[in-house]
C-alpha cells in the first residue's frame, strides 16, 4: 500500500505501473527532444516531508489525469501504447480517488509548501509549447514513480 503521510492507498500494484511505463519508456522519451528542460526538477520532489506528500501527490496526479493523459490520446494510438497508457491512467485514477488530503487549518503551512512545489512544476509546464510539454510530462512518469516508490510499502 501507499502511505503518503496520513493518506493510505490500497489496491494499487506499483510493479504493474512500472511494467506499463517500462514498455513505453523509449517510445515516449524519444519523442521529447527538448532535453534541456526537466519539469519534475529536484526542487519539486526532493526532501518532501511525509505530511506534504499527500498534498503534492494529489496535485500532481490530478494534473496528470486532467491535463496530461486527457490530451494525450492522439499520440497513444499512433505510438501503439494504449495498453500501457490505460494502466497508468486507471491506476492514477484509483490513487487520486482514495487520497483525501486534510483540510485542517493547522495543516495550512504544509499544504502551501506542497502547493509551491506543485506550482514550480506547473510553471515549467506552461513555459513550454503545450504539445511539447505533454510529451515531456509523459516521459517523466519514471521520475514521478521513483518518488512515489519511497512511500510504497510491500
Amino acid at each position: 500500500e501507499f502511505r503518503f503521510g496520513p493518506c493510505r492507498v490500497e489496491g494499487v500494484v506499483l510493479s504493474e505501473l512500472w511494467e506499463a511505463f517500462s514498455a513505453m519508456k523509449s517510445t515516449v522519451q524519444t519523442q521529447d527532444d527538448i532535453t534541456s528542460v526537466r519539469l519534475l526538477k529536484s526542487q519539486v520532489l526532493h526532501n518532501v516531508s511525509d505530511a506534504e506528500s499527500c498534498y503534492l501527490v494529489h496535485s500532481l496526479l490530478k494534473f496528470y489525469l486532467n491535463t496530461v493523459f486527457k490530451n494525450y490520446p492522439s499520440k497513444v494510438a499512433k505510438f501503439k501504447i494504449s495498453k500501457s497508457f490505460s494502466t497508468l491512467a486507471n491506476n492514477f485514477f484509483v490513487i487520486v480517488s482514495k487520497l483525501h488530503p486534510s483540510k485542517d487549518k493547522d495543516m495550512l503551512s504544509i499544504s502551501e509548501s506542497a502547493h509551491r512545489r506543485f506550482l514550480l512544476f506547473c510553471k515549467a509546464f506552461k513555459q513550454m509549447d503545450t504539445e511539447a510539454a505533454l510529451v515531456k510530462a509523459f516521459g517523466e512518469v519514471d521520475i514521478l514513480l521513483t518518488w512515489m516508490q519511497n512511500f510504497y510499502h510491500l
Binding site: 512500472w18 511505463f21 532535453t35 526537466r38 521513483t146 516508490q149 510491500l154
Partner: protein
C-alpha cells in the same frame, strides 16, 4: 582542441548503450560498419537531462577503444543522462549517435552479495556482504548498495545434492544459519539481490557448495 572534421564523412558507430552494474556506468558501442582495417578514433560527450549543454568526457576523446567509463560523470544517480559518440578518421567524422535517456537509479543492475559459507555438523552458516556501489578511487569509503536501495533483499537458493531438492527464502539481513541439515551432505547455495520496483536485470552469485561435517556419533563408532 578537437580538430574540426567534415561531419557525415564516415558511417556512424552502432549499438550504443549503457551497461550499468552497481552504478558503474560504462558506455558501449560498435564500430561503424564497412570500415574494417581503417584506423578510427572516437569522441564521447554526455548530457545531464534538464541542463543546458553537452559536456566532453575528458577520458574519452580520440580513443580507439569502443567503450567509455562514464561512472564519474553520471554518479548523481537521481539525475538522468544522455551520451553520444562519433567516429573520427583524420579530417572525416561521422554524425553523432545518441543513447536514449539513461536513469541510473532505475537501470543499474544490482550485483549479487559476496557469499561466505561455513559448515557445522548439521548446519551451514551463510554470511552475505552487500554489493558495493562503484567507487571513484579504490581508497574511497565503500558504500553498500543497501544505502541506495533501502528495500534491497536477497533471494537465497539452497540445493541439497543428496535429495536433489531445492528451496529458497528471501532475507534482508546479512546472515542466515541453516540448521538441522543432513550430516556429510553437499549443499550448494547461490544468492540474488532483489530490489522491488521497475523490472531490472539480476546477476546471481556464483554457485558455492559446502559439505556438512560428519555426524559425530557415527564418527565415534
Amino acid at each position: 582542441r578537437a580538430v574540426p572534421c567534415v561531419s557525415g564523412g564516415l558511417p556512424k558507430p552502432t549499438n550504443i548503450s549503457f551497461l550499468s552494474v552497481n552504478m558503474k556506468n560504462v558506455l558501449h558501442w560498435k564500430p561503424p560498419q564497412g570500415l574494417r582495417g581503417v584506423e578510427v578514433t572516437y569522441m564521447v560527450q554526455y548530457f545531464i537531462y534538464g541542463q543546458k549543454k553537452w559536456l566532453s568526457a575528458s577520458e574519452c576523446t580520440n580513443i580507439s577503444r569502443t567503450y567509455c567509463d562514464l561512472s564519474a560523470e553520471t554518479s548523481d544517480y537521481e539525475h538522468q543522462y544522455y551520451a553520444k559518440v562519433k567516429a573520427i578518421q583524420e579530417t572525416k567524422c561521422s554524425e553523432w549517435v545518441e543513447t536514449g535517456r539513461f536513469y541510473p537509479f532505475l537501470e543499474t543492475q544490482v550485483g549479487p552479495p559476496e557469499v561466505a559459507l561455513t559448515s557445522g555438523e548439521k548446519s551451514i552458516s551463510i554470511a552475505l556482504t552487500a554489493p558495493e556501489k562503484w567507487k571513484r578511487h579504490p581508497t574511497d569509503d565503500s558504500v553498500p548498495m543497501q544505502q541506495i536501495y533501502s528495500n534491497l533483499r536477497y533471494n537465497v537458493s539452497v540445493y541439497d545434492t543428496k535429495s536433489r531438492r531445492r528451496w529458497s527464502q528471501y532475507i534482508t539481513n546479512s546472515t542466515l544459519v541453516l540448521s538441522w541439515l543432513e550430516p556429510s551432505t553437499l549443499y550448494c547455495v547461490h544468492v540474488e539481490s532483489f530490489v522491488p520496483g521497475p523490472p531490472r536485470l539480476t546477476l546471481p552469485s556464483q554457485k558455492q557448495c559446502i559439505r556438512t561435517l560428519e555426524d559425530q556419533m557415527s564418527a565415534l563408532k
